[in-house]
Symmetry: C2
Subunit: 188 residues, 2 copies
C-alpha cells in the first residue's frame, strides 16, 4: 500500500507526565520491549522518528545503551532488522523539548496529536487525521504509558485522536498494540 505521499510523522512515547492506576501523576518506567516493538512498528509505517520521553537520566541512559548495543558491534550483526528499526529511535527529556526540536527542524510547529482511551470534546476521527497527514504537515503523535497522558498534554495538543474501539466494551489495549493499530489506520 506504499504510495508517494511524503508523510512526516513523529511518534513520542511519554513516561512523564502520565497517570498511574489510582490517577496520580507519575513518571513511569521505560520498558525495553516497548522500545523494540514500537521501533519496528514505526519503521514499518515509515515514521520519521520515534522518541522515548523521560526526565530520568538513568532511564535515558538505559535507552541510549540499548540503541548503541543494537546499532554497533555484535547486536547489529546478529539482528540487522532490529538495527534498522532503531535508526529512527531517540531519547528526550520532555514533551516541550521534543516540540522545540521538531519546530527547529521544520521551521514550523508540528501538528500535535494526543491519543487517549477516552473521547474528548476536541477528539477527531481517524479519517479526519488521515486527511490532515496527507496535507504533508509534520505531525507529532503522543502516546502515554501507564494509565495515559496527563491532562495538561491533552490541553496543549492541537487534537486528541478518537480512542481505538474494538468490539464491545472492553478497552484496555497495551500501548504497543494501540500504536500499531493507530499507525495502520492512519497511514497504511
Amino acid at each position: 500500500m506504499a504510495d508517494t505521499i511524503k508523510r512526516e510523522i513523529h511518534l513520542a512515547l511519554i513516561h512523564y507526565p502520565v497517570y498511574n492506576k489510582v490517577g496520580e501523576v507519575v513518571t513511569s518506567s521505560v520498558t525495553t520491549l516497548d522500545i523494540h516493538d514500537i521501533s519496528r512498528v514505526a519503521r514499518t509505517y515509515a515514521v520519521s522518528s520515534f522518541c522515548v520521553v523521560t526526565p530520568l537520566k538513568k532511564q535515558q541512559q538505559l535507552v541510549e545503551r540499548l540503541i548503541e548495543h543494537w546499532m554497533t558491534g555484535y547486536g547489529a550483526e546478529y539482528n540487522p532488522t532490529r538495527k534498522e528499526a532503531l535508526l529512527i529511535t531517540r531519547v528526550m527529556n520532555n514533551f516541550t523539548e521534543m516540540v522545540r526540536d521538531l519546530t527547529e527542524q521544520y521551521e514550523k510547529k508540528p501538528v500535535i496529536v494526543a491519543t487517549s482511551a477516552k473521547k474528548f470534546p476536541k477528539s477527531v476521527s481517524f479519517q479526519y487525521l488521515r486527511k490532515e497527514i496527507k496535507r504533508e504537515e509534520p505531525v507529532l503523535l503522543l502516546f502515554g504509558t501507564g494509565w495515559g497522558l496527563e491532562k495538561s498534554i491533552l490541553t496543549e495538543a492541537d487534537y486528541v485522536l478518537d480512542p481505538v474501539e474494538g468490539v464491545g466494551e472492553y478497552n484496555h489495549l497495551p500501548v504497543r498494540a494501540a500504536i500499531a493499530i493507530i499507525l495502520d489506520r492512519l497511514v497504511a
Copy 2:
C-alpha cells in the same frame, strides 16, 4: 464499532513448528508478555478464545501458572482488566489438538487461516477474509512465533492471509503488533 454479527474467531499462537533465524524448524519459548498483550487485544476484538500452543510441558505449566495468578487471589484484585483478558486464554499441545477441540465444539471444522509475512499462491486479502468472518463460520487464525509458521501448517490451512504491509520495504513486525493490526482490519 460494535455490531450484532456473531463472530466466532479463535486465535492460536504457535511455538512449534516454527522457523528460527536460520530456517531450522524449532520450538520457540513462550514469552509471558505475548500472553498478556495478545489476551488484551483478543478481548478487545471479542475473540472467542486465545490458545498458546506449545508441546513443552514446562512451558505449558508456566502459562497455566500465569493465568491462575491473574485469575485468582491478589492478581485478580490488583488488575481486574488483566483478569478479564485472560478469561479467554488457554494452553494446548499442538495445532491438531486445537483443531479437534474446535471441531467438537462446533460440530464442524473451523476455517483455518494461517498468517505469514510472505505472500503465497493461496493467500487471500483482508477484505475477502472479513466477508468470510461475516458468514459466521468459526475461524481459527494461526500466528507463528520466531521466524514464522512452518510450511506444513501453511499447507494444511484453508487460507493464508495476505501479509500486513506498511509503507515501504521494511516488514519485520513483532507478532504482538501483527495480531493487533490483523484483528483491527478483520473485525473493527
